[in-house]
């Protein structure tokens, strides 16, 4: 079958990294992503199923990999060559429509799950992600053994499969995985804001992840006042539609938080600030900004994937701010104490809030250069999520 594959070719990775600053399109063309002909993957064992891809989204981490920007941290957690693509909706051999929870967890690799009913992403020891009877790979889409969503088919374990109702469209379903990430980040603010009367949570960045986090906050954190910094007009209107109270440009976010929390400004830090902040951008500057307008003993949830950053942490030390990474979904503890799987929450949210409006364009696999260039410039070009459409003709092209 024809699939998009990333191989570890140093020259290509370096070339892509250099060119990505000038022209993302050129970076993709010269980069390590190639269209190759490979055999469909074999089922690793019982409990594994073949998935036929309908839609596969392009995520920020995929872009980082393809442009050679991914941190060296991941070198030991992926197995080259791999087929990317972890935001997938497809159907199984028996016809059921499913979305995939891409983390290759304990059950998939043949280990005991950490607790009864654990999700693939749970557990305090990540050894299972790099060992077991599969090649290393944190997720489908980074693992040589399983293939990934940017191919007509791949394999997934029973623990990763979520059936979706017929009432849910493919276009809604492809947003389930990012929605889960956003909801997980939103729920990471609960230890700080849970129980407060009218907590203030700021969200910096309104791409797909930021918008999903806003939706998660509005649904699962009661009484929260959401202040968003969004750069582009389409992001601003979507943020408002998904439940944000105040939406401003990113450079006005600090002042908007100051007004909402009635703090003073001391130097460039607020004397108080938001109870929690979700950083959906994750650069040195965005982390520094978030630390400035989060209140002392508040929490900054780092949802975007950073690389090497340089931040002055004196403010964090002095204000006893918590800086917490938000990677993936698993089992959440809600405000009322109940335990739910993030993916289940995501499936509900994507359907009820009509997340298909976040899917801005789809491309065939052959047009992968254009697709990735579009995804890299999504904000500027008025788009949110870009996906590959592998459904057979007649082509269903969504707006």
């Amino acid at each position: 079958m024809k699939a998009l594959q990333v191989d570890k070719k140093l020259a290509k990775l370096g070339m892509a990294r250099m060119l990505s600053a000038i022209s993302p399109a050129a970076a993709v063309r010269m980069g390590p992503l190639e269209m190759v002909t490979i055999d469909p993957p074999a089922l690793p064992g019982p409990g594994w199923y073949r998935v036929h891809t309908h839609l596969a989204g392009i995520c920020g981490s995929d872009l980082a990999t393809v442009e050679g920007h991914a941190s060296a941290y991941f070198d030991d957690w992926v197995s080259f060559p791999f087929v990317p693509g972890h935001e997938v909706v497809g159907h199984l051999d028996d016809g059921r429509r499913v979305v995939i929870e891409p983390v290759l967890g304990h059950a998939a690799r043949g280990f005991e799950p950490p607790f009864e009913g654990a999700a693939p992403g749970d557990g305090n020891d990540y050894a299972h992600l790099a060992t077991g009877h599969l090649e290393p790979g944190i997720q489908i889409g980074f693992c040589n053994s399983t293939c990934g969503g940017w191919a007509p088919q791949f394999v997934a374990h029973d623990s990763q499969i979520h059936e979706i109702p017929d009432t849910m469209s493919d276009e809604q379903a492809v947003l389930v995985e990012p929605a889960a990430g956003g909801i997980h980040a939103a729920l990471l603010t609960l230890p700080i804001v849970g129980g407060a009367e009218r907590p203030v949570v700021a969200v910096l960045g309104a791409g797909t992840m930021g918008l999903c986090a806003i939706a998660g906050l509005r649904r699962y954190v009661p009484g929260v006042q959401i202040i968003v910094g969004a750069r582009y007009p389409h992001q601003q209107s979507l943020a408002t539609a998904l439940g944000a109270d105040t939406v401003v440009k990113p450079d006005e976010l600090a002042r908007a938080v100051r007004r909402a929390t009635s703090s003073h400004m001391v130097g460039d830090h607020l004397s108080g600030g938001a109870d929690a902040t979700i950083d959906a951008v994750a650069t040195s500057d965005s982390i520094a900004d978030c630390l400035r307008f989060t209140r002392p003993r508040g929490r900054v949830v780092l949802m975007g994937m950073p690389a090497q950053v340089s931040v002055d942490l004196t403010g964090l030390w002095h204000r006893e701010t918590q800086l917490v990474g938000a990677y993936t979904y698993g089992t959440e503890t809600m405000l009322d104490g109940s335990r739910r799987r993030t993916f289940d929450l995501a499936i509900e949210t994507a359907q009820q809030l009509g997340f298909e409006r976040l899917l801005s364009a789809t491309y065939r696999l052959d047009d992968h250069d254009d697709a990735i260039a579009h995804a890299a410039a999504a904000g500027r070009r008025g788009a949110v999520k870009i996906a590959f459409d592998l459904r057979p003709a007649p082509k269903k092209e969504s707006a």
Binding site: V248, E252, R255, A256, R258, R259, S262, S263, H264, M265
Partner: protein, 529 residues
Amino acid sequence: MPRPGFVLEVDRSTPPILFWRGENFSLEKLPAGRSRVIYPPEPLKAIDDIDSAITHALLNPIDQDPLPALLLPGMRLTICFDDVSLPLPKMQQPDTRQRVIEAVLDMAAEAGVDDVHIIAALGLHRRMHEYEMRHALGDRIYDAFHPRGMLYQHDAEDHDNLAVLGTTDHGEVLEINKRAAESDLVVYVNINSVPMDGGWKSICTGLASYRCLSHHHNGETLQNTRSMSGHRKHSALHTSIWRMGQVLQENGPKLFQIETTLNTDMFPKPFDFIAKREWEWTGRDRATYLATTKSLNRTPLRIARKIFHNIEAPHQMTSIQAGETEAVHALTLEHVYRQQLVPVEGQTDILTMGIPYVCPYNPDSVMNPILVMCMGLGYLFNMYRNKPLVRQGGVIIMTHPTYRDFHPVHHPSYIDFFEQVLPDTTDPVVMGHKWERQYAEDEWYRHLYRTGNAYHGVHPFYAWYWGAHGQQHAGKVIIVGGDAPTVRRLGFTPASTMDDAFEIATDVVGRAPTITHLHVPSLLVADVS
């Protein structure tokens, strides 16, 4: 012999006219046959021996005992003075305030008065920097009184030091600085650059609290102030203040009002060409103009601002009168009008004006977009008596670069006003009801007003209210040369050139509109019949 102001009918031989554009100038050609330019009167001659004039005024006041008779040993004397929002540009030293206060202090020393406080009556304006106080008062007064804590600036948010003097029959509360309220004698030293100032306004706004000011500093009142430069009976602002003045007179301390007027000699050589009539520019003037504009085009904005704000004007005192407030003020207004009044016949469809780099609310600071509106639709539009220069529904065209630039120390609440309030509404009455309270009660703005050098949190609203009448009166407001998104945020229309602006105006006023150009910088009041 200074010539009076006059109205020039523009014809084909009229040279292009000078327009201010913030920190630069331009020359614009106005259409012949249907444009007129209003030139201000030339500066009157200043008083010859100013110190003698001051002494004479203090010894021969109007409807009041001579000052030495009012000064008794052991009394509590408070001297108040106008802050550096005027005169603009700042005077060359010695400033009028310095001269007058030194003369008063001489008499106070003669009389053996020890308890003297000197208060800057700045209302809700920002506290002045030390160098500004030294410029206005001179080093002698500053070094003698400031270290002793006897020279300070009014703090409208210091509730322990405010006193209510009474209520008018319209329910307006007069609340002023406590020290002044409880003094045996309050001497007010005023500089009357424009007809709006002086009289009861000096104390009733300069030493007032926010509560007191909000009775007349609001959208409705300013919409009914037509104009602030004209007869008091047409100005709701002054009517309210005069009511408070009655309360002040009945329940307040004994007052000795000293008012002075300045001539309009606003630019030192070689920049005096700015106020000259264009056809009288000498070769040297033209060379200076070209050199100035070309070098300003290349100068970074920060440096251009510094150059302009360092200009010290040679304007000088033309009259001084002291004594009972209303009697003194009547005389002062006569002198102001003598210098500034220009008779004009009729209104036109369009009014054009160049906005300078400074207004009373940004001395030595940045002119932000809100102040552009305030200067244009507030001060300059209102420089009329009887009727505005432009007809109801006409078009006002201003020239100014209107950068989205704010001074973070002086105008912090202006930034939030621009980001939060203006996108929501530009209607002064609506914003007063919806947003003003939040800005009045914000702790941080209060902190900066009291301890820093920031205008009070509500001050951007006041700047906006100042333009309320102009905003209502005009059918369209166009800013030429401004930053387009910023101009739109203000509720105005951006245009790149004057011709484009005239073109845009035709939608409102028709194909061949009549135009009046207000030739500021020199101050003038148009007496429109």
